[in-house]
């Protein structure tokens, strides 16, 4: 029995040391683990102009302008700060106003963002089209504002992740 207890403590101790080490490594690397910056992050971190990076947020309602030559301009918002994005190319099917988007590209000297690749990001809500329509008709939900059904004031789920709050 004594040997078993000894082994038990050895396993427990080993696992705790390992967890602490992993937590330290992950928190030290957390800047590198971020897949994209929100417009607010960009202002805080101020990455150099011309460096390749990813930005993400919601496509602001009414901001999408398409030109005849296939280029698109839109505004990405995190409901706090905004960033003007220009892009030339095909957009994913899910690219919509009020929906999440992640763009890879470079910051321009004029403060806009030139995207080389645009990916759509979808949220964690799934429902049949009739239900979505009914919610909208009842005025309970305004996807264009990036608000979730039944949630009137909180910002979009994707943007309050890093601070850990939200739900």
């Amino acid at each position: 029995m004594r040997r078993r207890t000894q082994r038990l403590w050895f396993v427990v101790g080993g696992l705790s040391v390992l967890s602490v080490a992993a937590a330290l490594v992950l928190s030290a690397m957390s800047d590198n683990l971020v897949f994209f910056y929100s417009p607010t992050d960009l202002i805080k971190k101020a990455p150099p102009v011309g460096r390749m990076l990813r930005i993400g947020g919601l496509v602001e309602a009414g901001s999408v302008r398409r030109s005849d030559d296939g280029s698109v301009a839109f505004v990405v918002t995190d409901t706090n700060k905004t960033l003007a994005v220009s892009y030339h190319g095909l957009l994913p099917d899910l690219f919509r106003e009020g929906q999440g988007v992640v763009a890879q590209g470079r910051l321009q000297p004029d403060g806009t963002f030139a995207a080389a690749e645009v990916l759509a990001r979808h949220d964690e809500n799934y429902m049949p089209p009739e239900v979505a329509k009914a919610l909208k008709d009842q005025g309970m939900w305004h996807p264009e504002d990036g608000k979730k059904p039944g949630q009137q004031t909180a910002p979009a789920a994707m943007l309050d992740r890093p601070s850990g709050g939200g739900q």
């Binding site: 082994r7 390992l18 992993a22 429902m127």
Partner: protein, 259 residues
């Protein structure tokens, strides 16, 4: 629980349960696929593509569940030295690797039409890929060490070290910005999926779980058989060794041998 620590008992129980578990898995899978592919409505954003969720999300659940099972087995193997725990973990690894592979492939096929890319190196996708490599490494370690007792111990330690990855996978979408969307089912505030889409997802989840159980029961039973066989062969070999050595010993010293 302690009854199952006895390989003989586990073997008998698994053998009796197996046909039933396979049958239930088949029924649930057909029902789940029927619900998911035919009955359930399209999604308001994703349209019909949302149906990939019914094979993708449960695969990811089982990928993590299989590893959790291996981790629990590894702990009991390291502390209480249960042979069945070792064999259960060994038998689970290829099953877990299979489900992880399924989750990665279906996720990639879902990502292309929805996100616009097959793959990105965000925290969720990368941590699941690491889980897949952990499974492969675990299997490789078992086959690299010839002495099965030593192999079991080394594999158990590797499994527990890798278990750190499980909470990272689960919370990666909360801790960091990812392209992958946050949790829809297991989250505070309840599921954010409409019941018409949630029901087929949960049926598929249970179906995958039973399928996993059927595979692992059968594989563990076969591992027990192989373990027995290896022990019997080793015993035979050592007896044969002893016999031949005593024989040669005798013949070397017997008067006939001298002649």
């Amino acid at each position: 629980m302690f009854q199952l620590a006895n390989p003989r008992r586990f073997y008998d129980l698994a053998q009796r349960l197996e046909p039933w578990v396979w049958a239930i898995a088949a029924i649930l899978l057909s029902y789940g696929l029927y619900l998911g592919l035919i009955v359930s409505p399209p999604d308001y954003q994703q349209g019909e593509t949302v149906r990939i969720m019914f094979v993708h999300v449960p695969a990811a659940w089982i990928a993590m569940m299989a590893y959790s099972g291996m981790a629990v087995a590894s702990i009991s193997s390291l502390i209480w030295r249960h042979v069945v725990a070792d064999l259960f973990a060994k038998a689970s690894a290829p099953v877990g690797a299979g489900f992880t592979f399924l989750a990665l492939v279906t996720g990639s096929l879902w990502g292309r039409p929805m996100w616009g890319t097959y793959w990105v190196w965000d925290a969720r996708l990368t941590s699941v890929l690491i889980l897949f490599f952990l499974y492969l490494g675990y299997m490789a370690l078992w086959s690299a060490i010839e002495d099965q007792t030593k192999a079991a111990r080394a594999a158990a330690v590797l499994c527990l070290v890798g278990a750190i990855n499980l909470p990272i996978i689960k919370f990666s979408v909360d801790w960091w910005n990812t392209l992958h969307q946050p949790a829809s089912v297991a989250r505070l505030g309840g599921p954010s999926i409409h019941p018409a889409i949630l029901t087929p997802l949960l049926v598929m989840g249970i179906a995958y779980m039973v399928l996993y159980l059927a595979m692992v029961l059968q594989r563990t039973r076969i591992e027990i058989l192989e373990h027995r066989l290896a022990l019997a062969l080793a015993a035979d070999a050592s007896r044969a060794d002893r016999d031949t050595s005593t024989l040669s010993h005798r013949s070397a010293h017997s008067p006939e041998g001298a002649l």
